[in-house]
Symmetry: C2
Subunit: 204 residues, 2 copies
């Protein structure tokens, strides 16, 4: 692309360096900011710099937070005995959006993957084990992707906890709510038959 | 979406306010910036603020520029007698990318559109006419979209120039180079037959 201005070129490149944004989209965003008041661009830049400078992982659960201990860990109304183990902070947001979980979280930062060179020591597993023991957690919910790497990670953590009295569960896997059976993939459908649940009859 | 941090929420909203970027994409971009060094986010923000503060329309052609007169208008090797009229600066970039034009540009800032309430007075037409007269331009090339609004704009400008000795041309319209006839739309194909060009025979 042929830019008549170095400043526009720099700004376009800054956007285009972000994942999933190409040069054409970047240019569209830059031209949009040029059309707005100068304030808008400044507020935009300010929000990003402030966020980047002040966001740190929560010391307890590794969720991203602007305070040393995150909002969720700090909330006295949440059940500190139940810990939901997730891969990343996006999973926390997704679970929080459901409003179905009132315990605390623990972010692993990924899953064990020999192919990608990720071992247990690269993840926040040691302090998960410590936390479970120190805080006398009664249940650990593994909300980990149903993949081979995810299953390996769950297996590894459960092995580390085998001498410790804590209930370990995984989130239910099966066909989507509202989904049509014919569109579910074979593996999911197969597993959902193997892991069928007794039906609660009325009046029982 | 449920953000555990106000700062992340602000940054996500800043991105999500840009056109074509939704909340999920915005979050992905923010998490990407968190993974990078603090420097990267600062350079990103800096490029945007600097660009927004210093970019102004070129006083001559209304191209965006970091100097009062843009690189193209300032270039003594370009032909100042030929002015290519375009709707917006993206069109300049597209034409510059072809390396087929060595004259100067004039950005209208849009086209005449009664439906959208855009009249000739909202566009940079008055100073185009003045420029053509003052600079004794010999040719004005209308590189305007082939739409009703575009045609109206070309008609309006040509009327304003009817007593002035300048050649007015429009860019050629027809089937795309390398395009297959069966996929060209009817209007384009129809026009390209009406506006057929004499074939240059070899040896003539």
């Amino acid at each position: 692309m042929n830019f008549s201005s170095k400043l526009i070129e720099d700004a376009v490149n800054a956007f285009a360096n972000l994942p999933g944004i190409g040069k054409k989209t970047a240019l569209r965003l830059v031209l949009h900011l040029i059309k707005q008041e100068t304030d808008i661009a400044e507020q935009f830049a300010d929000a990003i710099v402030k966020m980047r400078k002040n966001i740190k992982p929560c010391k307890k659960c590794h969720n991203l937070s602007d305070t040393p201990i995150c909002n969720i860990c700090n909330n006295p109304r949440r059940d500190a005995k139940t810990i939901c183990v997730v891969e990343n902070i996006r999973d926390i947001m997704a679970i929080e959006d459901t409003s179905q979980f009132k315990g605390l979280y623990h972010v692993l930062g990924g899953v064990i993957s020999p192919i990608e060179g990720v071992g247990p020591q690269d993840l926040n597993i040691d302090d998960l084990i410590e936390r479970i023991k120190n805080e006398k957690a009664t249940e650990v919910i593994m909300a980990i992707s149903p993949t081979i790497e995810g299953d390996t990670t769950i297996f590894y953590i459960s092995k580390r906890l085998k001498d410790h009295d804590v209930k370990i569960s995984t989130i239910a896997r099966g066909v989507s709510f509202g989904g049509e059976l014919e569109y579910a993939d074979e593996l999911t459908l197969g597993r959902s038959i193997v892991a069928r649940i007794p039906y609660q009859k009325h009046g029982k």
